[in-house]
């Protein structure tokens, strides 16, 4: 009870919980779930874009894309490290991922059939991720908050690069313009769904907000995101695929079409286009690398034994 009181006080004072601090079991579990899910999303998120590294249409774009996908591996690493401070191992998390016991962001279950998807993912998916993540930089758990600071900085760089890809395409040949519009059409709604179900149907949110892991509601974040997109779409010369989208002076909100959650729920239930492919890819990489990890461990062990002998 005393511990609980101290924990509550830290949270109340907007200070940070550190790995050595006592924390309620539910808090720890929530964090592990959220951080590892976030890490898995970075790792699975390497695939849809990794798919275009070999075909990037200019060497400059190839370099930028390679660096981006590599950054995602880095984000995965920080986040796994943050989760490890809560007492779960990377192996355990990997195992949960490849056996589908842990989730990752559903957005990565869509394929990337064209180069313009590299732009749309950067602009819309990374954009939505940033809106979700910027508040997490102040998350009450220290290692998570600090990882997010670093990640957010890189993500906004990625978003700008996505925007640039789309701008170049939109102003390019008619075929390129069409490619860009098509990608925005395909990614717009899924990116809005990244903020999760409407507030009145989101059961976990209240507790997370009380714990200051989460600081804004799903709908608040979605509104903020749309508000950011509208002027940018104008600059791009691309249309957001919602005929009902307009600013409502009275409510001080963006009016928009009702989101059709049917598809989202299908993807979430494992019936998106690429769910199976994503897990297969990750599992194969993991399993085909097993002998390498074993070799590295065996070698390290031998080296350590030699050093002990020498000492």
């Amino acid at each position: 009870a005393e511990l609980q009181a101290r924990f509550d006080a830290i949270i109340e004072a907007d200070q940070r919980i550190e790995p050595r601090d006592w924390m309620p079991e539910a808090y720890r579990k929530t964090l592990i779930r959220q951080i590892s899910q976030h890490a898995h999303s970075e790792i699975i998120g390497m695939q849809p874009e990794g798919n275009w590294i070999s075909r990037a249409p200019s060497l400059k774009r190839k370099a930028i894309l390679m660096a981006k996908v590599q950054d995602e591996a880095g984000h995965g690493l920080y986040l796994y490290s943050a989760a490890q401070t809560l007492g779960i191992s990377r192996d355990e998390m990997t195992e949960q991922l490849i056996t589908s016991r842990a989730r990752y962001s559903s957005i990565f279950n869509y394929p990337t059939p064209t180069w313009a998807d590299m732009g749309a993912i950067g602009w819309l998916v990374d954009g939505a991720a940033i809106c979700n993540q910027v508040p997490l930089c102040r998350a009450s758990y220290g290692p998570y908050g600090r990882a997010m600071v670093r990640i957010c900085k890189e993500e906004s760089f990625h978003q700008r690069q996505g925007f640039e890809i789309l701008l170049e395409l939109s102003q390019g040949t008619p075929e390129q313009h069409e490619m860009a519009q098509d990608a925005v059409n395909r990614w717009y709604w899924p990116s809005l769904m990244m903020f999760g179900p409407p507030d009145d149907e989101s059961p976990n949110s209240a507790q997370s907000m009380a714990w200051k892991i989460k600081r804004f509601s799903n709908d608040e974040l979605r509104q903020r995101f749309v508000g950011m997109l509208v002027p940018q779409a104008e600059v791009l010369g691309l249309t957001l695929p919602d005929p009902n989208l307009r600013w409502n002076d009275e409510t001080g909100q963006w009016d928009m079409s009702e989101i059709d959650w049917t598809e989202f729920n299908e993807v979430l239930a494992g019936r998106g286009p690429a769910n199976a492919q994503r897990i297969q890819h990750r599992r194969e990489a993991h399993e085909q690398g097993a002998w390498v990890r074993e070799a590295a461990a065996a070698y390290a062990e031998k080296q350590a034994a030699k050093q002990r002998q020498a000492a």
Partner: protein, 250 residues
């Protein structure tokens, strides 16, 4: 001069094609740290390729992208080593080891080129290549000294990759014409052999452990546009989008 351009193109193609191969590993490496490390190496090499191809293109008014995307297979000048498939992780390491030892010798010598641009590119690249070499050496030691399986795989990888060493060190008329603008490939061989032997020795590998006595050094032919059968499909994939949209910018 056209000779310097041709020379820069050879080096640029080596770096470009190896980078293209390594890019495949990003999202497929044995551990996340390797997704990052191999990605880093691929990025460095792509940077070298861009500098070299940009420079090579100035002679004929072509951009780095003109050279990367609009040349056909027989116009590429990479050596066979760099075209070899990734294979398993051991094959990638064996290829990377040979490539990095070679490149470090090359860029070290090329830093003293009388051609200021080549010298500058080489001086910048040599630092990065030192990291690539260290990465490959460390993994060679780990795989050779790890488990029985990893050692066996490392030896097979050396068997398959070793035949592509000689091509890197063959002098031809271009080198003679270049004079002090570039080192003779053959002059780099002693330095290569020294490091190569030292790494194998530390990994406790003798040449007899992996050399198939019936298979010698490949005659290759990449410097003259004669490539292994692996390059064609690589280029088909690399160039497909750019070629689908002639004249477009990205």
């Amino acid at each position: 001069s056209p000779d310097v351009a041709e020379y820069a193109m050879r080096l640029g193609d080596d770096a470009l094609i190896l980078s293209q191969r390594l890019g495949w590993w990003i999202s497929r490496a044995p551990e996340l740290e390797e997704d990052m490390a191999l990605g880093n190496i691929a990025l460095d090499l792509l940077g070298h390729a861009r500098s070299l191809l940009h420079y090579a293109g100035t002679a004929t008014g072509r951009s780095e992208d003109d050279l990367a995307y609009w040349r056909d297979e027989h116009e590429f000048r990479c050596a066979w080593l760099f075209e070899q498939p990734n294979g398993d992780f051991a094959h990638t390491i064996a290829r990377g080891l040979i490539a990095a030892i070679y490149m470090q010798e090359l860029y070290t010598a090329l830093s003293a080129s009388t051609d200021a641009s080549l010298a500058a590119i080489a001086a910048k690249s040599v630092k990065e290549v030192a990291y690539h070499r260290d990465h490959a050496v460390q993994w060679t030691l780990r795989l050779a000294g790890g488990t029985e399986e990893s050692r066996a795989r490392m030896l097979v990888a050396l068997t398959d990759t070793w035949p592509y060493i000689d091509e890197l060190f063959r002098d031809d008329e271009l080198h003679e014409r270049l004079g002090d603008a570039a080192p003779l490939p053959s002059s780099l061989r002693a330095g290569f052999d020294e490091i190569w032997s030292a790494v194998l020795a530390e990994a406790e590998i003798a040449e007899a452990d992996f050399v198939n006595p019936k298979i010698g050094q490949s005659s290759g032919g990449g410097r003259f546009g004669n490539h292994s059968t692996h390059l064609g499909p690589l280029l088909a994939e690399m160039q497909v989008l750019a070629r689908r949209h002639p004249g477009a910018t990205w």
